[in-house]
């Protein structure tokens, strides 16, 4: 399935754009997505951490992505 992925902060800089599309074999968990991202952009490993939000909610590594999910890469936040 194709998944649209939003990237913010340093994640956007690493990927090179705010919105990117990835093709992944179902079933795919957030852990799988993170592995795929690190494969494509090894610098993700250098971050303190990064999380994935699905439909504007943080989700754990064992969450299974669905075709219409809004997926976002959340590098370490620094608001306030």
């Amino acid at each position: 399935m194709n998944i649209d992925i939003l990237a913010f902060g340093i994640a956007k800089d690493l990927i090179g754009k705010r919105l990117t599309q990835m093709t992944l074999e179902q079933p795919v968990t957030i852990a799988d997505l993170k592995k795929e991202l690190i494969g494509l952009f090894p610098d993700f490993q250098k971050l303190s951490s990064f999380s994935i939000a699905v439909n504007e909610e943080y989700q754990n590594d064992d969450y299974f992505l669905q075709p219409n999910d809004e997926v976002a890469i959340i590098p370490p936040v620094s608001g306030g």
Partner: protein, 138 residues
């Protein structure tokens, strides 16, 4: 009542103070964050804040709701600004009112501490010789 705002416009402490005013409140605690002119002894020129806007608003609302359920308070306001901010400008204001002051102090500190941990907002610091996404690297 809870009020959340994410905006590119200047934030107003007096507007936040008005929102939390209540005839039954005795204590109002306001936290105002400002852009510091230095970090780790390096001179900062300005900051640029970016947000995952829709999620950031949801997360700020969650934090305010959590604070309202944990502490005995009347009103909570959280305003956050995004975009380019100069030294001394205000990226965040949090205000809380309560009958007794202790709850307002605790709720206000809880909101800013949690906001800094979980709300999807990122700041880039600009120095004379470069720029860096804050907290991105260990």
């Amino acid at each position: 009542m809870i009020q959340i705002l994410l905006t590119e416009d200047q934030l107003s402490p007096s507007q936040c103070e008005s929102f939390i005013a209540d005839d039954a409140a005795g204590g109002h605690v306001i936290f105002i964050g400002t852009v510091r002119n230095n970090t780790s002894k390096k001179t900062v020129l300005y900051l640029d804040f970016e947000a995952y806007g829709s999620m950031a608003e949801k997360e700020m609302k969650k934090i305010a709701e959590q604070a309202a359920s944990k502490f005995n308070v009347f009103h909570i306001v959280i305003h956050h600004r995004i975009g380019k901010l100069k030294i001394g400008e205000i990226p965040v204001i949090i205000g809380v009112s309560s009958a007794h002051r202790k709850a307002a102090f605790e709720a206000c500190e809880y909101c800013i501490d949690t906001l800094k941990e979980s709300v999807p907002i990122w700041k880039k610091e600009f120095f004379e010789d470069g720029e860096v996404w804050v907290a991105a690297h260990p």
